[in-house]
Structures are given as C-alpha cells and as structure tokens.
Symmetry: C2
Subunit: 212 residues, 2 copies
C-alpha cells in the first residue's frame, strides 16, 4: 500500500517524524568523518553524510553543512585554518563515528572522547583518522550559502589522499566494499554495501556488460 505525502502534509508532520522522513527520502548517503584543528591545536572530528563530487579537474568535493548546530566547530576550524580531512567511516567503527555527533564542548577532541586516533603526515595541517582506508586532505575553496534552508555548501580542493593500494582496481575504480566503507541513511543508521554489478559504458541499442 502506497502512502502519499503532500507539501502541505509534510509541513504539518510532527518535527522528529518529519526530520527522519525527509533525511531518509533521497536515499543512501556517504559516511565520512571530517577532521579539523584550530589555530591553537585543538582537534575536532565529526560525522558528515552529504558529500558530492564536483569534478576531477580541479579535484573539488563539496558537502552540506549546518553551522548553527553541532557542526559549528568543524565550520569554524575550516574557516580559521583553511584545511580539513575527509576520512571514510569503515563498517567496524560506525558506533564510534556516530558518537562524534554528540555535542562535546570545544576543548574536548572527539578523537579522544570517541576512542579514535589522530594521524599527521606529509606536513598536512589537519588531522587524519588513523587506520581509515581512505583519507583525503582538502583546502577550503569557497562556501555557497543557500538561503532558503540556511545551509552552506562547502567546496574544497583535494590536496592529497591515501588509499589502501589493494582497494584500487586497474582502471582507477576504488572498491569501496573492499575498503569496508560504510553507508548512511538519515541521521543515525549505518549500512554495509555489497556489490551487485559494475557495468560497461552504456550505448543505445547495445547490451551492457558486467565489468570488474
């Protein structure tokens, strides 16, 4: 049985119900931890789930941020220092990753509070998550304010990244299932992904093939 929601009906839903419903509506989301450090050396780690690939040249990644919430420290650190890391959440640390969403005071590092470890390398300013199979170092490029929803699209340029070598296939495709990268739904649910198929480039009137 299909349930039908209208724009007017959405507005009248109980707040928490609406938040869960609307946050799960677009489908699955990526699962990353953003690592930052302020100019005094205080680190922060926070779970984010709304990243999009903007392009490979220049290598830009954007994510959605609500700086009026618990995401404030991440926002402030990025604006203050210009650098941050994106670290894939692996399926074996989803509980610790979720714990980073708690409202810790600024002087508490989520790395320590949540049982996770910082890693510094190649003189990159912001902390990586130690042990993450995929770690990306970014430089802040611009923020795009979306007034209707009071959110920012934060655009960053990839400066460097690290990947477990055996997770990259010969054509550059990263095997995210092998990297144990988790998937998020809504604000609080974590999933693991299993590959159904990878397909060849589609052309009209031609059968697509499975590729590896």
């Amino acid at each position: 049985m299909q349930k039908h929601f209208t724009k007017e009906g959405i507005a009248e839903l109980e707040t928490l119900y609406r938040r869960n419903l609307m946050n799960t509506l677009i489908g699955f989301k990526n699962a990353n931890l953003i690592g930052t450090k302020d100019s005094k050396g205080q680190t922060n780690l926070a779970v984010f789930n709304s990243f999009v690939h903007l392009g490979a040249n220049p290598p830009h990644i954007a994510f959605v941020m609500r700086p009026t919430t618990v995401e404030r420290h991440t926002y402030d650190n990025i604006r203050e220092t210009g650098f941050y890391t994106i670290n894939h959440i692996q399926t074996d640390i989803v509980k610790q990753a979720h714990q980073t969403s708690a409202k810790y005071p600024k002087e508490v590092s989520e790395f320590e509070a949540c049982g996770l470890e910082e890693e510094y390398k190649n003189h990159f300013f912001a902390p990586y998550l130690k042990g993450a199979n995929i770690q990306i170092g970014l430089k802040f490029v611009e923020e795009i304010y979306i007034k209707t929803n009071d959110v920012y699209l934060m655009v960053g340029e990839v400066q460097e990244f690290y990947i477990q070598e055996d997770c990259i296939r010969s054509d550059g495709f990263i095997d995210l299932a092998k990297a144990q990268t988790a998937v998020i739904s809504g604000l609080d649910a974590y999933y693991e992904a299993t590959e159904i198929a990878r397909y060849s480039y589609a052309r009209p009137n031609q059968e697509i093939q499975s590729i590896f």
Copy 2:
C-alpha cells in the same frame, strides 16, 4: 600498503583512470532516476547519483548536474517545464537504470528504450517511474552555478511523494534496505545495502544504544 596521491599527481593521471578514481573517492552515493517531460510531451529518464538533503522546511533537495553531457535533456526539460520526479533505483532494476545513461536522441524516451514504465498521478506534470517504492515529485527552485567545475547545483522543492507504507518505521525513518533502494559507487557500480545498526541520539559521556 597505502598509496599516496597528490594534487599534482592527480592532474597527471590518465583521464579515464582519474575519472574513476575521483568519482569513487567520496564514498557511496545515492541511486535515483530523474523523470522529466518536455512541453511537447516527450519524456526522459536518467540516472543520477549526487543528491543532498538541504532541509525539511521548506522541503528542498539538491543534486549536481553536468548539463554539457548526456544530462542535457534532463536539464532542458526541468528548465522548460519546472517539474521533475526522483525515483529510487531498486536493486532489481540496476541494469535498466544504468542503460538510461546511454546517449539516446531527444525523440527517444529512456522509459521505453530501457524497458521501464511511466506513471502519472495526482495531476503531477512529470512522469514517475512505475513500480518504484519511493517516488518524489519536485518543482524547480533555483540553479546554483559552480564555475570552477562547470556544474550546476539544482535545487527543487518537494511537492509530494509516495512510499510503500511498510517501509516507514513509526518515527518516520524510511527503511531503505526494505525498500530495496540501491547504492552507487562511481559512474557504473551498483550495490545493495544491509543495515549494521541504527543508533540513538549521541550525547557526551553516554553510551549510545541501538534503536529500531
């Protein structure tokens, strides 16, 4: 063994390798088919994977579009008519969904060419994908041009949506695994997701609990 890529190294990679690498780098992506119709009645259906939730009030969803590619017809139809649908790709139609990415001429509907069916209801202008467990009807709000990567962030307001009733939990959370919603990685790989855990609201110094 970790492989290290730098910004300079990314720029020098072979084009296809770089495209695969950078498109899989941010982690898993959502899997949706956008349905549109031009003012003459010609329909279009195309796979997209970069959607973000902007907010529940107003209920806005954004997605990334490269209108200079095969995505042109979708872009033109949205701008011409102002309406489009987002339909979750279920795990049993990933092959047909991928086939919609082929460069069909404008006068060919991907619905028909890929063995999928249009559905019209509640006088909504754009076609839904028949049989999709989650179908969303949107009205175009604005496009935000991101010059550095020559892409558009297309913002839409949810006008209505349909969900199989048994996929919604009591608190509004949509069970995407039960809805058989697929997950995408890169440009061509499709996954199914299995729930690891859903966690309670995180608070400092408090153990998070699994919830259902």
